[in-house]
Amino acid sequence: MHGLINKGLQGFLAETYGRQTWSRIADRANIAPEGFEALLTYDAQVTHDVLDAAVEVLGKPRAVLLEDLGTYLVSHPTTEPVRRLLRFGGLDFSDFMNSLDELPGRARLAVPDLWLPDIQTREVAPDAFAVACYSEFRGFGQILTGLLRAMADDYGALAFIEWEGERGGAEQVSVRLLEGDYSEGRQFDLSRKQAV
């Protein structure tokens, strides 16, 4: 698993539940408390170990943790670069959903060795999307669910987004956009402010 994803998971656990809790999770997962480097690649098992340890230490279901991770990646100040890069995907949430299939390609354009699972988005009705996420890493669709919810908020859209289980070898996520212009949303300027 790419270090960026592991580092995201580490950041989510450490910043949501505190560094001490992260140290306990790291301990239980048999990794150093310094955790992951974003530019390195790790064995997939390490990610599972950290997740299993987090489930035990925090007493929360894995699915809940993964959805919260997806939300964290978009909404936390630390991960602002992720939010910004995602916002390049569309002018509004509907536009963003229509370019969601490009997400792995966009990720690879930014980080050539970052492979995200294949995503196939079908517009099943006006403003209703069925997203299929083909990943060897089970739970990617749950991360995506949390991420899409946070992106809808970010665009100021009102949307119902649900993880619908697995079907046909893919995790299924349903997205129903009720109102694209529901709230103000968050500011996005094409040009990045100097603070990195």
Partner: protein
Amino acid sequence: MMPDPSQIPVPVEALDALLPMHVVVEPDGIVRHAAPTFRKICPVAEPVGMRFLDLLEIERPLTKVGTGDFENLVGARLRLRFRGRPGTSMKGVMTPLAPETGLLVDLSFGISVVAAVAEYGLTGADFAPSDQTIEMLYLAEANAAAMAEAHRLIGRLESSRDAANEASLTDGLTGLGNRRALEAWLAARVRSGRTFSLLQVDLDYFKAVNDTHGHGTGDAVLQAAAHRLRQGLRPGDDLARIGGDEFVALLDRTTDAAGLSALAERLIAAVEAPVCVGTTECRISASIGAAVSTGYAEPTLEAMLADADDALYTVKRTGRGRARIHAG
């Protein structure tokens, strides 16, 4: 009548959607229409009705700009900027419209797009959907983020390397102990109450080897000397390199002057045997100053080194290649 296939009537709205940074210029050089993004970046509130060349300066290709006759600029790669505005320069292309309707001039920011987007506060809606500008901005930002992360990683690696160096007990060139190791060895001997001697070994004529044959040869000679000194000691003795050509040995048990002198002479003889580096034969020697732990109530590295150094200085002054024991 069949429509002429070479003429496609294009409404202005379609041009605005496809080329949001274009202007249409009448045959007499007056701007007739300006597309939305062009208006947004234009320093003049109403460009329509102005002379195109009063609005924009064509910087390249200079030789073809001439008197303002646009004909020989058609199809050329233009570089333009707004007059009275030192900011971003733009790329452009001119193409004639239907006869007698004038020219279309389309602009883009080219490589200065990142600065231009910030300067003019442009959004995704200011570019045509088929335009690659947004992808280019995405890539520039992703690249900056990856570089920033790489810099942070290098910073972390550097600090851990510094920490590792600091914690290191080994001299990288010779594999012997370094000064930190020497301190630890000496402290251990003092703690256990063992008596021991300290030999400071200073290579003679080493600088000449370095100066004559270069540092590569110098390094090889240092490694050879280190090896020979180590061979000349017994198991349990310790040897460190504490400076360029300075070595320190800690010897257990041998504390009498005669034994110490004999050992020192053997070490010097070993170092004096010629060293061959490639086809170069190098000859060096060594001077040794010694101090014995029994001469101190509480032996410390500083005190013993200072006394050994004293003895060594005397040797150096009275001819090299010999050993001397500090009188205590």
